[in-house]
C-alpha cells in the first residue's frame, strides 16, 4: 500500500456534457510523443477527475437546452447546444440534485432501499407523481411558508440592525430559489395550473361534491332559534389571509419588483400569478372570474405541460441514466468512510469518436502516461463502458403493424460492440479491467433475465471470448431498474369541464386523465459492478464489513467476492428487485460461470435478512474451455506485476530473486505473513513462484490461486541493458 496507494480509479467512457473539456481535446496532438507531461495530467485531473457525485455535477454541469418553436407551438429540447440559436433564445435546464425529475428518481432508489420492497409490490406512483403540478405546488407551498416567515423577521427589525443584514442575505438566497419558478414561463405552468384549480374548485368538499356555486357565509340563529348559514356581503378587497397585513404587502411588492426586474417583457397575468402563488389573497376567490376562459386556459396549460414534460423526459432520459449511473457508482462506497475512496475519470467524449483510428493514439498516450510508470497515483484500474448495443439484427419488420407497437427508435448513445472491441484492445495493454453492460431497457432487467436466462448475453459475448483482451472484458448483467416500464405512468391531473350550473369541475372521463409515460428508467449494471469492486478495494470498507481479519494496509485486490459469505457481507446498496432466479437459471449461470452477475435473492447473514442486490458471479470473459475466470485473478496478477516492477527497479534479475526469497523480510514472505487476512494478496492456498528463462530473457511467474496456476511473463531487463550498452 505504501507503493500503490489506490487500486480503484475508474475510467468512464461516456459523454456527459459536450460543452465541457474532454479527454481528446485535453490530450491534444500526440504526433511523435508517447506520453504526456505531468502538467498535462494535472490539468486533465482538474477537468475530468471526480471524487464524489457532487463534484461530478459541479464539474460537468449536465444540462439540457430548451427553446421554443413557433411553427408547431412546442418546446424543443436538445442535449447538444444548438450552435445556430442565440444564447438568449436558449434556456439551459441543469440536471442537478434540484431538478425535479432527477430528484424523483434518486428518492425512488432511496425509498426502495429503505423499504426493501421488490418491484412488483412497490408503489411507484407514490413517488412518480413528484413531477406532477400538484407536487410542484406543494414544494412551493413549503418554500412560501419559509419565505413569509423570513420576510416577517426581516420587516420587524429596524434598519441598521446588523442582524437585519444577515436575514437579508438569507432572503436573497430564498428569492433566488423562488425566481427559478417565475423567470421562465414553462416553470410557471404547474403554478398556473394549480392556481386555476384552487380558484375554480374551491367549493369542492373533500368527501362529496355539491353542485351549487360557493358563497361564503357565517353561522347564526334566526329569530326562531333555527340554525342558518347567512351569506356575507361580497366586497372587493385586497385583504390578506394572514394576520400581519404590512408584512405581506411588503413581500408582494418585493416579489413584483423582482419579477419585473428579471423579465423584460413581463405580463400582468404572470405577475399576478406569481404574487398569488407566493402570497395568497383572500379576495381572489370573490373576483369576477371568466370561468370558461379559465377552464380553457387550464386545459391548454395542462396539455402543454404534459407535452413539454413528455418531450423533456424522452430527450433527457439517456443523460439521466448516465447521471444515475455515476451516482450509483459513488453510492456503493459509504460516505462516512475516509479510506481509499473510489475516483472516476470521465472521458466526456462519445465512444464512436474516441475509437476512431486517428483518436486512439491519444487514448494510448494518456494510458501510457498514467499506467506505464512506476508512479501509481494516477493509475487507471477499471473502465466502465455502459450501453453496449444488444441487438445485432436489423430492424426488418416482419409483420404489418395492426396495433400501435413499440416504435423502433434508434437509440442514441448506444455503444457498438465494434467500439467496445477497439477499446478493449487498447485497455488490455494497460491492464485496465473493463466493466461493460448492455443497453438499458426492459430486455436487460432482472425480470427479463429471471424468465429468459442468460443465453442471449452469453451469445452476444461470444465474439469477445478467446481473444487476447478477453481477460479484461467483464460483462455485467442484469441492468438495474429504477422505474419499470409498465409502472412508469405519471398521472398529472384531469381535464376540467364546465357543467350545466356554469361551474368548473374535473372531468371524470377516463380519456380526460392526463398521463405521461416515463417508459422505464434503468441504470447500467457496469456502473454498480465497478462501484462495488472499487469500494471493496478499500481496506477500511472491508474492515467495516468484516470487522476482523482485515489488514489495514493491503488493498482488496485478492478479495474474492464469490467466496464463502463474502457476497452476503459485501453487497450493493441497491434494493432487491425480484424474488430471485429459478434453480434452472442459476444452473445455467453456474454451468460456465458466465459474467458479473447480480442476484436478487433471499439470504440471511447471522439472523439478518439481506434485502439488497448481491453479486452472484464475478467473472471475465477468459475461459479455459469450461468455466470463465474470476476477476480477482487478473487484478492480483496486475497488482503483483506493478509492485514487482517498482520493487525490482524494472525487473532486474537479482532483485527478482530477492523479491521471492524465503527471507522473512522479502516481499513474498511479508505477503505470506498476512495470509489469514480477508484482503491478503496471497490468501490461503495461494503461492507465487518464478522461473527465469535465461535464453529469452523472460521471467515467468506462476501465481497459484487455490491450486489453479496463472502465468505472468515479464521481460527481465538484464538482457536488454547489456545488449544496448554494446
Amino acid at each position: 500500500m505504501s507503493i500503490i496507494k489506490q487500486t480503484n480509479r475508474t475510467l468512464l467512457f461516456e459523454e456527459i456534457n459536450p460543452e465541457k473539456p474532454d479527454l481528446l481535446t485535453l490530450v491534444g496532438d500526440v504526433r511523435g510523443i508517447d506520453s504526456l507531461s505531468d502538467e498535462k495530467i494535472k490539468e486533465m485531473n482538474e477537468a475530468l477527475l471526480v471524487r464524489n457525485f457532487d463534484e461530478f455535477i459541479t464539474k460537468f454541469e449536465p444540462v439540457v437546452y430548451s427553446f421554443f418553436n413557433a411553427n408547431n407551438q412546442k418546446i424543443m429540447y436538445t442535449l447538444k447546444k444548438p450552435e445556430t440559436i442565440t444564447e438568449d433564445m436558449l434556456t439551459p435546464i441543469y440536471l442537478n440534485k434540484q431538478n425535479d425529475f432527477l430528484k424523483m428518481l434518486m428518492s425512488l432508489v432511496e425509498a426502495k432501499r429503505s423499504q426493501s420492497i421488490i418491484n412488483v409490490d412497490f408503489q411507484f406512483d407514490k413517488l412518480t407523481d413528484m413531477i406532477s403540478p400538484k407536487k410542484v405546488m406543494e414544494d412551493i407551498k413549503q418554500n412560501r411558508k419559509e419565505l413569509q416567515y423570513t420576510y416577517k423577521n426581516y420587516a420587524e427589525l429596524e434598519d441598521g440592525d446588523p442582524h437585519k443584514l444577515d436575514i437579508a442575505d438569507k432572503l436573497n438566497v430564498m428569492f433566488e430559489e423562488a425566481s427559478v419558478n417565475y423567470n421562465n414561463v414553462l416553470a410557471m405552468l404547474p403554478l398556473a395550473i394549480e392556481d386555476i384549480k384552487t380558484r375554480l374548485l374551491l367549493g369542492e368538499a373533500e368527501e362529496k361534491k355539491d353542485n351549487t356555486p360557493l358563497a361564503l357565509g357565517v353561522l347564526s340563529m334566526d329569530e326562531k332559534g333555527e340554525l342558518k348559514v347567512l351569506e356575507v356581503p361580497k366586497t372587493e378587497s385586497a385583504e390578506l389571509m394572514v394576520v400581519d397585513d404590512n408584512v405581506n404587502a411588503g413581500l408582494i411588492s418585493a416579489l413584483e419588483d423582482d419579477y419585473e426586474a428579471l423579465n423584460e417583457e413581463s405580463s400582468d397575468y404572470v405577475k399576478a400569478l406569481v404574487t398569488r402563488t407566493y402570497c395568497p389573497l383572500a379576495s381572489t376567490m370573490v373576483s369576477n372570474i371568466d370561468i370558461k376562459q379559465e377552464v380553457s386556459n387550464y386545459n391548454s396549460y395542462l396539455e402543454f405541460y404534459k407535452t413539454a414534460k413528455d418531450d423533456f423526459i424522452k430527450v433527457v432520459k439517456p443523460l439521466i441514466e448516465k447521471i444515475l449511473g455515476v451516482w450509483a457508482y459513488f453510492e456503493q462506497y459509504p460516505s462516512n468512510l475516509k479510506g481509499m475512496r473510489p475516483t472516476m475519470f470521465v472521458t466526456n467524449v462519445s465512444n464512436d469518436m474516441l475509437v476512431k483510428s486517428n483518436n486512439l493514439p491519444r487514448l494510448i498516450a494518456f494510458l501510457n502516461t498514467v499506467n506505464a510508470k512506476n508512479d501509481f497515483d494516477n493509475t487507471i484500474w477499471y473502465g466502465i463502458v455502459p450501453s453496449v448495443s444488444l441487438d445485432q439484427n436489423s430492424n426488418i419488420k416482419l409483420t404489418r403493424q395492426r396495433f400501435k407497437g413499440n416504435e423502433k427508435v434508434e437509440k442514441t448513445g448506444v455503444n457498438s460492440v465494434e467500439a467496445l472491441v477497439r477499446l478493449l484492445d487498447v485497455l488490455k495493454d494497460y491492464s485496465v479491467q473493463c466493466f461493460f453492460s448492455y443497453e438499458t431497457g426492459d430486455k436487460t432487467t432482472f425480470n427479463y433475465m429471471a424468465t429468459e436466462g442468460i443465453e442471449k448475453f452469453e451469445e452476444r459475448c461470444s465474439s469477445l471470448t478467446g481473444k487476447a483482451f478477453s481477460e479484461f472484458a467483464i460483462p455485467c448483467i442484469p441492468n438495474f431498474t429504477i422505474i419499470p416500464k409498465e409502472k412508469s405512468g405519471v398521472i398529472l391531473d384531469k381535464r376540467m369541464t364546465v357543467n350545466e350550473n356554469n361551474m368548473a369541475e374535473l372531468s371524470r372521463e377516463k380519456e380526460d386523465i392526463m398521463k405521461l409515460w416515463i417508459d422505464g428508467v434503468y441504470v447500467g449494471a457496469a456502473y454498480i459492478a465497478a462501484g462495488l469492486v472499487a469500494a471493496y478495494q478499500c481496506p477500511d470498507y472491508l474492515k467495516e464489513k468484516f470487522k476482523r481479519n482485515v489488514d489495514e494496509e493491503l488493498p482488496g485486490v485478492r478479495f474474492d467476492i464469490e467466496a464463502g459469505d463474502h457476497p452476503l457481507r459485501v453487497h450493493t446498496v441497491m434494493a432487491k428487485e425480484i424474488t430471485g432466479f429459478t434453480n434452472s437459471i442459476k444452473n445455467e449461470i453456474n454451468r460456465r460461470s458466465f459474467g458479473f452477475v447480480f442476484s436478487s435473492e433471499n439470504a440471511m447473514l447471522e439472523a439478518e435478512n439481506i434485502s439488497h442486490i448481491m453479486v452472484y458471479k464475478a467473472r471475465n470473459l477468459m475461459s479455459d474451455g469450461k468455466v470463465y475466470e474470476p476477476i480477482y485473478k487478473t487484478q492480483v496478477t496486475t497488482y503483483i506485476e506493478r509492485v514487482l516492477r517498482h520493487a525490482t527497479s524494472d525487473y532486474k534479475q537479482e532483485n527478482i530473486v530477492k523479491f521471492f526469497s524465503n527471507n522473512p523480510s522479502s516481499q513474498k514472505s511479508r505477503w505470506l505473513e498476512k495470509k489469514a487476512c480477508v484482503n491478503a494478496i496471497l490468501g490461503a492456498g495461494d503461492d507465487v513462484e518464478y522461473e527465469i528463462d535465461e535464453s529469452n530473457g523472460y521471467c515467468v511467474l506462476n501465481i497459484t490461486f487455490n491450486g489453479n496456476v496463472k502465468n505472468l511473463e515479464i521481460e527481465i531487463n538484464r538482457l536488454n541493458s547489456n545488449n544496448r550498452a554494446m
Binding site: 511523435g32 483510428s357 486517428n358 493514439p361 465494434e418 495493454d429 524465503n662 522473512p664 505473513e673 521481460e715
Partner: protein, 595 residues
Amino acid sequence: MRMAKFNLSHSLVYKGIFIFITALFYLCMGTGIRARAQETEEASTSEIVVVLDCSQSMKDADAGYAAFDVVKALAAALPRDYRVGLVAYQEEVCAKQPLGSSHEMMGRALEGIGYADYGNAGAGLWEAVSLLDSDAADKRIILISDGEIMMKTQEGTEESAELFDRAVKEAAGKGIRIDVAALGQKLEEGHTVYAAAGATGGQLYELPDGEALGDFTQAQLLEQCGLRVSHVGQINGLSGELSVRLPDCLMSKARLVLLGSQQNENMTVNCEAEKMQVSKGGTYTVIELLHPASDQVTIQMRADVPMDVNAYLSAEYDYRLSADYSYVQATQTANLRMHITDLSGRNMLEGHLQDGGVQVYLDGEQQEYRAAGGFFCLSGQYEQDAMADLRIGFDGLYGYYYGEPQVSVEIAVPVIIEEEPPGIDWFFWSVIIVFVAALVIIFCLAYRQKKRTAGKRRFIDESRTLPRETQNHKSEFNGKLQIYVIHSKEEIDYPPESINLFARCNRDIITLEWLLDACNLPLNLKGAERIILKPGDDRSLIIKNNSKASVLMGRELLLKGHAYHLYYGEKVTFIFDPEDTEIEVHYRDLKPNER
C-alpha cells in the same frame, strides 16, 4: 603475403597465452590443501533466576497465578544459551530449581504451591544470588512480588529485610542485575523490595495486577532478552488458522512462540518433525519442533473469548565449518572456500543463508565474498606460508547459530624453480601496439562522426553494420505492429490493425506496402514500397525510408536513406503526400505465450 604474416603472429600470441595458462594450472594443482578447525570456545551464556513471592498478600494482586506463567514461559521460549532458574518463597524458600531447568521441571516445582503465609523476600533473594555463582556474561534476577517484606514477628521482618539488603549488595558486587516486577499499588510504608532494582542497575516495573504480566513476559522475551525472532502472523478473534512457512528445514530446533491473551485448550498443530513439544500457559504457547522435515506448519486455534495472539518464529541451528583453498602462483593469491554444514552434513547454504546476511572475516577483517557451488568463496594474498583464520558472523540474521565460528587453514606457498625470464618478444608487443593504435584511431573517428551528428537521432551506418549483419544474420522478426490510419485521402475511418511479425514473417525484409496489404488497408500509397523494415539487434526493427514520405520518430524527422532502430513501445509516423495520408505504427512486445 601480408595475410600469412598476420596468421603467424596470431599463432605465436596464442602459443604464449597457452603456456602461461598451463603453468598457472600446474601451480594451482600442485599446492597442498590443508585445513584444521580451531579449538572450540565456550559460548557466552546468560542466566536468569526468577524469584517468586508466594506470600498470602500476592493473592490480591495476582489471583490468576500469572506470575507462575512468567517463569514457565521464559523456560520454554528462550534458546539454549539462556539458562533459567527459579526460587519461590513464602515464610521460607518453598521451591527452587537450578539454572537450565526446563518448562516441565518448572511446572512440577510449582505444582501444589499457592499464595499463602508470610513473605521472606530476604531468604528468597539470597538463595537466588547464590544460584548465580558462575562466570556467565549476563546474570539477572527477576523478582515478582507485591512489594512487601512481612514476617510473623517484627524481629523476623527486620531480619528478612536485613538479609534482603545483604543479598542486594552481594548481587551488585557480583554484577547481577535485579529487575523488580511490583504488582498492585506501590507501598509507601514498611519494608519493601523496590530498592533492589535501583541498587543493581535493574529496572522497576510497576504493574497494576497479574493480568499485566502477559505483556511483561512479552517485553522480557522480545526486548530484554532480545529474542531473535521474525513475526510470522497474528490471530484476532474467536478462531483462526495460522500457516507458517519455515525459511528452511536445516535447523536443529524451530520454536514458534505465540504470545498474547489466549485460551488454547482447542489447538491443533500440523507439521512434520522428528519430535514436537507444546508448552502452554494463559498468555503463551511455545511449539518446539526438533529437526523439522517439512517447512509448512499450520496452527488452528479456537476460543470462547476473543484472542489476540502474535506469532513469532525462532530457530536454533547447529553448524560445522570447514575450509580449503587453492593457490594461484601468478597473483600470489589463495582462493579460500569455506563450507558450512549442519551436524548431519547438509549444506546450510542451500537454506536461508543463500539470501545473504552472513559476515565472513579473514584474519579478523571482514571480507567481500560470493556464495558459489555451496561454498563461501573469498581470496587473500599470501607471499609465504601462513595461517589463514576464517570466521563467520550471523549478525542481523534471525535465529541462533551454534557451532565453532572460526576455522584456520594453513596456507602453504609452493616453492617453484624460477625459470629464466623469457626474452622480450618484440614481435608480440609490436602487434599489440599496432592493434591498440588502430583502436584509438577508430575511436577518434567515431567520436568526430558522433559530434557531427550530435542532437540528431542516432542512425545506423549501414556501410559498416550491413556486411556484419548479412554475414552472421541471425536476427529474426519479433513483436507485433499496430497500425493506425490517422488520416486518409478519402476520410475513411479504417479500424486499427495489428500484425504479428514473430515466426509469421519469413522474409528478410518487408516494406510498408507489404504491411498495408497484409492488413487489408487499400491505401495505395506512392512510395510505400520504398519504406523498408527489417529485424535488428536486441529485438528492434530497422526502418529505412527511401521514399518521399516524411517519417517521424519521436519529434524528429528521419533522414532519407538512413536506417534507424525502432524498439519495443516506440512508434513511428508516416506522412504521405502533403498531409494526405498519415499512418502511425506502434511496435509492441510479444510475450512468449503470445507467439
